[in-house]
Symmetry: C2
Subunit: 491 residues, 2 copies
């Protein structure tokens, strides 16, 4: 993080008079900021929201609107899916190996009740489901498998359950349908917010406690006193090219950040300025899904050595992570006539290379080492015919010998297709959103939530769709209550 | 890696006459270097070993001599332990989530035959076992559980089998008993070696291929031409304080590196000088085991918030990793009268704090937040009495309510006890030991094996004892054969 711009920290005695004052300053009005503001306000604190854009919503409003929640939510129950905090915790613990297992356990314990809270705020969730493989939906259906729940080894550890809860909107930007009621609640409950306001620095008092912020507005600079705490809910660093280059050099020119212009890491940099530690700064989900249609999962993915490298039934972000790490970042999706179809995600730009009568011709056509693809497919087909994949443990339901020529290949190379990415790294926090230093000691007066904080998943290999909005809304609430001086009541 | 010393790369046209010449130069004569040299030599290459110390053995000779191998070795079979390449791969894939799954699969496929190869070289392995929890043995017994095989979630994914194969030596430095026959083979087969010889730079030819080395000796500098390749088998960067500070800042003053003086990262730095990528540079196994005696695993570990943070039946390196990450790096082992004993590993320096009649007194005595330890133990005891640990999934065999006062605590804090550590990071390599750049493209003419290469386990949370010597010897052999121009025959 050699070259990134860490803002200066101001001392409160350098500030003359505060221009504004509150108990809790919430920086950013995406999902984490809204939830933090609502909880702090309802706990009796005087809250001020400071937002860079001209209105609330943040990146959450342009997301696909999926909340990763489980343990027996009302939707899961209505549709007959068994789930429990134990099973959800088993899945998250085994797939994410999180820094803070107890915080994850609490998220799982509270997950069903947190879902109900979201519904109480007015977020619309249907009692419907979409159990086919999908990345986002053009329907308002709710419940989906959005992660690696059915992937080996997790399926062995925890009973798979769908936990992606999508708000009743459609398409890639369904998230706005979930943000509208949260923004409305903030307004109706009279929580003041200032817009077009860019927080440039934190202010510390003589005891080293964060007690305020400097805000740049069109017509000048103001200083805001935050008597109880400052909550950084300012989104990710997706758009900060220097932070990306420093931390995730494998992302290249064809990778495109998912987010909004203010996702420039401002929150992370403010946290760093007072000594907050970071976690998983190299974590990223690069996605250019090969499915839908689901039948393509029955194909295989090979690298330029002609070798497989990831179970093809992985969550698309996991697959993208492995593609990113392959030799020269090259990879192809191989299919036979039985399962031939075009990948449907238009943004991915996977290109059809060619069709060939034989595997030998395909190997030559793709420029793979002589014999490599033939050997890989012989071994794969033999095992698939026995319903097993002893190398990468793809699930039996997606195994079939690829032996019905002609054959075809799609180029899914990392530097050729378009991989949209979300960063996973951010500030290290405790279960109540308190910012922590390298030794996990709290930074007094400072909180982080949402994409400004490090995600539970530290690698795109373990992320699931909804693991931003789900934990972001939950830990945002906890940060709000804690900053307001109230306890969190579990379960 | 801002401040570390990366050596200059020399161009072959700057070198006048080569002082020595060989096909394959092997830098370092620990286990990886010996195995590489033997295989390259037997494949017909003209090999030269260059070693910094006055004799061979390296850190391998002062290790505890455990080789992590399985899939049905002769020892496993003789003692009636079922294991297979599939089960071993399932364990390693699920616990390590390795960068290169196919290399791991090949290691598992070849593991039993590699064990037999080691025996053929003269390494002594008894057909005996030690199935109690131990860190190292004062007996010559062979087979042990040395990792997280029985730990949740891995026990759900792969049938646990003991895979730590210890050579028939005793104590912390049993490794020398395994190195003696390998060194003898090198000598008997007439592989030349030069000692007290420090490789300071790599030399590249006009095509960018690594083709030689500069060596510093007591009486001057020589240049060695390596026509087919250079194999870096020069150990870890354990002893390089700058590399440690840059990559693993959580290691503190009370942490002590396990290794020998030449583990200064010379091999890693040589690899970096020509653009080899690194992996897992922040990976570390810090160990100060709480067991033996095994009964202490029935205790609980708590941090300064009075909360548990890791399943106590974890491999000691996994536990140490979690202790390192706790608030203020503080942690205590809590026991009741039923299971009271002193931790036996003398180097750990875990100190007895005190005994107390009640949990309330213990909580106060340890300065934990009021009510915190009482709540943690009430919850733990209730679940333990039902044979479950829904929070951290400790195995039922180690669960018992801690309700038989008086109680006692041992301080196992990271900054107070002595945690011995081994670094896990190093150069990124392929299955044949070829050094890879960031995009996984090979660096022509350069190989790495042993602790100079990144380990399969990228975090101490997934390491097992023997995962240095086991893969180090296996991938060392493969690097030797590949550098000599020979193929590796699988299985």
């Amino acid at each position: 993080m050699s070259n990134i711009d860490i803002p200066e920290v101001l001392n409160s005695d350098e500030i003359g008079d505060w221009d504004m004052s509150c108990d809790v300053a919430v920086i950013g009005q995406g999902v984490a900021g809204c939830c933090a503001a609502l909880e702090a306000h309802r706990a009796g604190a005087n809250v001020l929201i400071i937002e860079r854009a001209s209105g609330g919503g943040g990146a959450s409003a342009v997301s696909s609107g999926i909340y990763y929640l489980g343990g027996g939510t009302e939707v899961q129950k209505a549709l007959g899916h068994e789930d429990s905090p134990d099973e959800m915790a088993a899945y998250m613990m085994s797939s994410c190996d999180p820094l803070d297992p107890l915080a994850v356990r609490q998220f799982c314990d509270d997950s069903a009740s947190h879902f109900s809270w979201l519904e109480e705020q007015g977020l619309p969730f249907e009692r419907t489901q979409h159990l086919d493989k999908a990345v986002f939906l053009d329907t308002t259906e709710c419940l989906m498998y959005t992660g690696n729940e059915k992937l080996w080894p997790y399926r062995e550890v925890a009973k798979p359950a769908p936990r992606g809860h999508k708000v009743a909107g459609t398409g890639e930007n369904a998230g706005s349908v979930g943000m509208a009621p949260l923004l409305e609640k903030c307004e109706k409950e009279g929580i003041p917010a200032i817009y077009d306001s860019n927080v440039t620095n934190l202010v510390r008092d003589a005891n080293g406690r964060v007690c305020g912020i400097r805000v740049k507005q069109a017509d000048g600079i103001i200083h805001v006193n935050a008597r109880r705490g400052v909550i950084l809910a300012a989104g990710s660093f997706n758009m900060n090219t220097q932070m990306i280059a420093d931390n995730i050099p494998l992302l290249g020119e064809t990778s495109e950040p998912l987010g909004i212009p203010s996702n420039d890491g401002a929150g992370v940099r403010l946290g760093l300025s007072v000594g907050t530690a970071t976690s998983a700064m190299d974590g990223v989900i690069p996605t250019a899904s090969i499915y839908p249609p689901a039948q393509l999962i029955k194909g295989i993915l090979v690298n330029k050595r002609g070798e497989r490298f990831v179970a093809e039934d992985s969550y698309h972000g996991r697959t993208g992570n492995f593609v990113m790490e392959q030799p020269d970042q090259k990879a192809w999706l191989i299919v036979d006539q039985d399962i031939f179809a075009y990948p449907e995600i238009p943004t991915a730009n996977h290109s059809f290379v060619d069709g060939w009568e034989t595997v030998e011709e395909m190997e030559a056509g793709l420029g793979l080492p002589p014999g490599s693809l033939v050997r890989t497919m012989e071994e794969y087909n033999k095992n698939a015919s026995e319903g097993r994949d002893p190398v990468l443990f793809k699930s039996p339901e997606w195994l079939k010998p690829l032996d019905q020529g002609p054959y075809a290949a799609f180029d899914i190379s990392f530097d050729r297709s378009t991989y949209l990415f979300i960063t996973l790294g951010g500030l290290k926090t405790g279960a109540d959103g308190e910012c922590l230093d390298a030794r996990s000691e709290p930074i007094p007066g400072l909180y982080a939530a949402g994409a400004t904080a490090a995600h539970i998943a530290r690698s795109g290999k373990s992320y699931a769709s909804g693991m931003s909005l789900g934990p972001g809304s939950y830990f945002g609430r906890r940060a709000g209550r804690h900053a307001a001086g109230a306890n969190w009541s579990r379960g």
